[in-house]
Amino acid sequence: MAAHRCSYSALLLIICSLSMFIVADSQETTLTGDNHATELDNPQTATETAGQMAEQPAVEERRLWEATEVEEATPDDADTDKQDTSTPETAVPSSVPQPKDDFQEELVIRPLHSGDIYASFQFRTLWETDFMRGNKVSHYRLFPKSLGQVISKFSVRELHISFTQGYWRTMQWGQPFLPSPPGAELWVWFQDSVTDVDGTWKELTNVLSGIFCASLNFIDSTNTVQPSASFKPLGIGNVTDHSFLRYATLPREIVCTENLTPWKKLLPCGSKAGLAVLLKSEKLFHSSFHSQAVHIRPVCQDWQCKTTSWELRQTLNVVFDLHTPGQGKREWSLFKMFSRTLTEACPLASSSKIYIDITDNPQGEQFEVSPATPLLSQAMVLGDRRTFSVYDLTQQITFGTVRSLNLLIRWKSSEGDMLRPLLHGERYVAGYGLQTGEIHTLMYNNHPYRSFPVLLLDSVPWYLRLYIHTLTVASKGKDNKPSYIHYQPSKDRVRPHLLEMLVQLPPNSVTEVTVQFERALLKWTEYTPDPNHGFYVGSSVISSLVPSIVAMDTNSTREQPLFSSFFPCKEESSYFVRVYTEPLLVNLPTPDFSMPYNVICLTCTVVAVGYGSLYNLLTRSFQIDEPSPGLAKRIANIIRKMRGVPPL
């Protein structure tokens, strides 16, 4: 998570820097040739771009580069401070007096290896205020009041909430800018002034449930854990007492329009202007992946970090399937993706930009973007140096003569193969039958020569009774002893299992973590209304510092001066990645609810007639008991005995 933040702030640095320089001649010629090809291939778009080209013929000729500073991508707090401090001084144009709050919006479009399109929106509101002081904050400008009140009422230090529909396919799409598990995820760091953390957490989830129209109220003690190492604060402050942290996931949560609308309402411009115009739910939910999130954290105000400001980051990631609607024509435009084009930036935004990742496409051989932009920028994203085309929406020139921006991407090559991301995880349930099972978690390290440690967090509901003594961690067929294990056993109906491990992944290997479990028999009221669907187990979380791709690249030494490239420099050596595995669907032994009448009748009959009578027959012994004769008969018998005749 920190890595993304870092890379983003690196991008923000770019925004107002004005120094541009001309690219080397060789590149220039290929690029112009490229533009020419566009016109030939697509006359219909050529007319569209013609206006722009007429306006800026000189710009068209040569590509301009924005100066880029590469930021460190490590999750340490110290780094966070450093880069955050640098943000405000560059983010705000120096000519304008510095306002107390600031709003920025951006959209990153990345054509993925598989041929799909990844669009990532980020909206950032910074506000220099302190919710925790005694006096109440009552005047809100850009920051949404509902969230501000939540922060002050529940003494929240950091809040991260995400709603995701679908599963991020790491093998095809690579790493996302902001990872999130399917369903809903919520993690909160409270201020250390909070005394009853559990009570506050409970209230907070209920309030958030109302704000986001989600079933977050289903978060209770049975699915809340306190991870000891996996979720560190991302903002300033070095609280490490994890008793103030709460983490919960709802893998079953379905995300839809009713969650999007309240999320959009938190934006200063709503969905009226700026990039948020594109967020039409009928298109967003017609995709392969949809994830929306809200991150609130305190960040430094300036370089010395004397004062803090609050950062609200709203992100929305969506992957559009190229295959689905348009058959044959492999091209995408903003209009096709969102059924809208852009006409203006949000007037309240200090910056509003669109980035298109063209790293894999330096010569335009894979796809082609129109209208072309002269602005380029480079940034370190997830350990890789990426190049982006930048469209600044605050500049009128971006919209051209038609006063609307409709970016068009046209593919040339076919779909790529599977990726081999350096780290990815996978999880499944092994075994059959309804008594026991085994959870397998596979962690792939695809780095050719570097091993790195990962933190694995597993939170398993109590009704899967983990046999922790069967826990094995093995890589390459050998036992791989974790250097740190934090295990909290479950309590029936009270809390889930929590398992955290620090495992070293050897290079080019698969590490398999297995643990057996027994399926509990629930009480009949504890079953969900659809018990035969199965019960969900949330994703496990793999957090790691992954060696950077740039550091792995041996060719990079060619372009750099020799003196600069002997020791791998720290900023490029590793980056932070969080990977979520798929959630599990586990069937528990389920009674046949559809036949209570039959069952009751049958059991009653069996117990009453069958078992009762058999038990009776088996335990009693029956004897013929002669009734004792009456007095008269006894006397008569005595007389008869004396007479020598047989008795009556």
């Binding site: 396919r169 992946f289 075994g431 059959y432 669907h533 009578s613």
Partner: protein, 588 residues
């Protein structure tokens, strides 16, 4: 209750039972058989109906258009298959990838305990190829499977073609809520077993397979497709799986409903449905259909690639395309539409299929007999065993544990000998003949040994032994019938009369002959002939005998390859139980 707890009346009842024992047994036996035969009579059966709401009322429009293209793909597949001389793995991987699936392969190898002569294989090595169509916005928790075996020769190319055609078509649809796995498995059941074991990471049969790289969560339902001609006259549904397990009846209902909707002739056990239930021929037709199902279920082997899914609680069936000499033909587009409709409905499922029956018999595709109806037939046979136990003399001096225990132990040892196939032979015939030899040798054992151990057998001795044997049989049959009704019923049909009449005092030669006729092995032999008769493919005695031998070898193979339980059940429990009665006959 009063009847039983009053000693006088109890005694009277027992004496009545003892006196009328023979007639009661005969009546019960007749009634049991009659009840069973009555099950196929249409007015006594229930019409099938869709129990699962998620699949019932929802409207599904089938639009699969690309039957011709699927056939072309099938031809291409067959060309590549011929060129490679087996499974064209690379071609399949490339083709599936071109259709937008995530493609994975799995290698497996298995050495059979002895060569399989029916399929001519001993060292099996192969590769499964499967492609996963990821459902948009679904978190990989649920999946459906469509599989087609890659068989040698010219068979089943159309099935693979249709599978690829459907994959391409499904990829462009947006409504999938579950991942769909398209699997082409090599070496039919062995490949399927390897894939399923890999998917669930179990190893029950000692097969070598490479782990799977991609999964789609818990599989909800599966269909296996067998199609060897460009046009078909009818589709046949195969339900019987491993150990006589059946998929949920709703799966059969779904198939039937779509056949009706699309207008494809559908059969079960290769038998069309007839409407003239009131005529003799109509009745005998449904008896035939039901008996075929009973025989197949009793065999305990998977009758299609779907059979192995059932162990993992995945509802599965095989759909076979049949091309006969009928006028009316359906083309591949129609089958594609049918499958599309079925998958759309399965995709709508919110829960696993659980609403309908898991235990049933089908005299036709539109009628079924549920467990509540067929169990009394078995119950009537089981009553005979109970009356036999009841009428055993209540006052018995205990006649030395040894005299009862010895035959028990000996007969079981013989059973173990039959079951444990550790012979140093690797020829199918040798294995089968050894099994039969031990089986027959077992007949010679008891009356030689018990005299040696416990001296002269007493009158009490055989009575206690018989009581033990009858109890044993009752428990054994009861348990078998609960798991696999057909097997339990067939065994009860032959073993219950044995239990009823055997005493040391009946004429030896004749009884021995009858006992042998009713022994498990002979039951199997008769079943082979009967099954051929039912399939309208009668065989001569020599052919039947060869078939009988191959059935035994297949049973042993099924046990070691897929974990079928019928062979060990017969060898370890049923045969020893029968030996006990043999022992009683020769009690001296």
């Amino acid at each position: 209750m009063g009847l039983l707890s009053d000693p006088n009346r109890r005694r009277a009842l027992i004496s009545l039972l003892t006196r009328l024992n023979a007639p009661i047994c005969v009546v019960c036996y007749m009634a049991g058989v009659a009840w069973f035969m009555g099950l196929a009579f249409e007015p006594f059966t229930l019409r099938t109906y869709m129990s699962e709401n998620a699949m019932g009322s929802t409207m599904v429009e089938e639009r699969f258009p690309a039957g011709e293209r699927a056939l072309a793909t099938g031809r291409e597949f067959s060309a590549h298959k011929k060129k490679v001389g087996g499974m064209p793995v690379d071609w399949l991987v490339k083709t599936m990838q071109a259709r937008g699936l995530e493609v994975f392969t799995q290698r497996f190898s298995r050495t059979l305990p002895f060569p399989d002569e029916n399929k001519e294989r001993y060292l099996v090595k192969g590769t499964n190829v499967y492609g996963i169509l990821r459902a948009p916005r679904a978190p990989r928790t649920e999946a459906l499977v469509l599989s087609a075996p890659c068989t040698p020769g010219d068979n089943n190319n159309q099935a693979v073609g249709l599978l690829l055609g459907l994959a391409q078509y499904f990829r462009n649809q947006v409504y999938w809520a579950k991942d769909i796995i398209f699997l082409v498995n090599e070496h039919d059941l062995i490949g399927m077993q390897a894939w399923l074991e890999g998917y669930h990471h179990t190893n029950t049969t000692g097969m070598d397979w490479s782990p799977l790289q991609g999964r789609g969560g818990s599989i909800q339902a599966a269909l296996s497709l067998e199609l060897s001609s460009d046009v078909i006259t009818s589709l046949d549904l195969v339900l019987e799986g491993l150990n006589g397990q059946l998929p949920n009846l709703d799966l059969a209902n779904l198939f039937y409903a779509f056949c009706q909707k699309i207008g494809v002739l559908c059969t079960i056990q290769g038998k069309l449905q007839r409407n003239d239930w009131d005529s003799v021929s109509g009745y005998s037709h449904s008896v035939q259909t039901m008996m075929l199902m009973v025989m197949k279920q009793a065999s305990g082997r998977p009758w299609g690639d779907h059979g192995l899914f059932l162990r993992y609680h995945i509802e599965a069936a095989t759909i076979k395309g049949i091309n006969s000499f009928r006028q009316y033909k359906s083309d591949t587009t129609t089958i594609g539409r049918l499958l599309e409709g079925m998958y759309r409905k399965l995709n709508n499922l919110l829960e696993r299929l659980h609403q309908s029956y898991f235990f049933y018999l089908m005299p036709s595709l539109s009628h079924f007999v549920s467990i509540g109806y067929y169990m009394p037939a078995f119950g009537l046979l089981a009553v005979i065993l109970l009356t036999l136990i009841k009428s055993a003399p209540s006052q018995m001096s205990s006649p030395g544990v040894l005299s009862v225990l010895t035959p028990l132990v000996i007969s079981h040892l013989t059973g173990v000998e039959v079951a444990v196939e550790h012979f140093p032979v690797s020829e199918t015939e040798a294995v089968v003949l050894t099994a039969i030899a031990i089986y027959t040798a077992g007949l010679a054992l008891p009356h030689n040994t018990h005299r040696l151990l416990s001296g002269e057998g007493t009158e009490q001795g055989w009575k206690v032994l018989k009581l033990v044997a009858v109890l044993y049989l009752a428990v054994l049959l009861g348990c078998t019938a609960l798991i696999n009704f057909s097997l339990g019923f067939i065994l009860a049909l032959t073993l219950v009369p044995v239990a009823a009449f055997v005493t040391p005092h009946v004429p030896k030669i004749l009884s021995a002959f009858i006992l042998v006729i009713l022994s498990p092995a002979c039951t199997l032999l008769f079943s082979v002939f009967f099954f051929q008769e039912l399939q309208e493919m009668p065989v001569s005695f020599i052919d039947g005998w060869m078939l009988f031998l191959s059935v035994i070898s297949q049973g042993i193979l099924d046990h070691s390859l897929y974990g079928s339980l019928v062979y060990p059940l017969i060898a370890l429990l049923v045969y020893p139980c029968w030996l006990l009665f043999w022992n009683i006959l020769f009690w001296k």
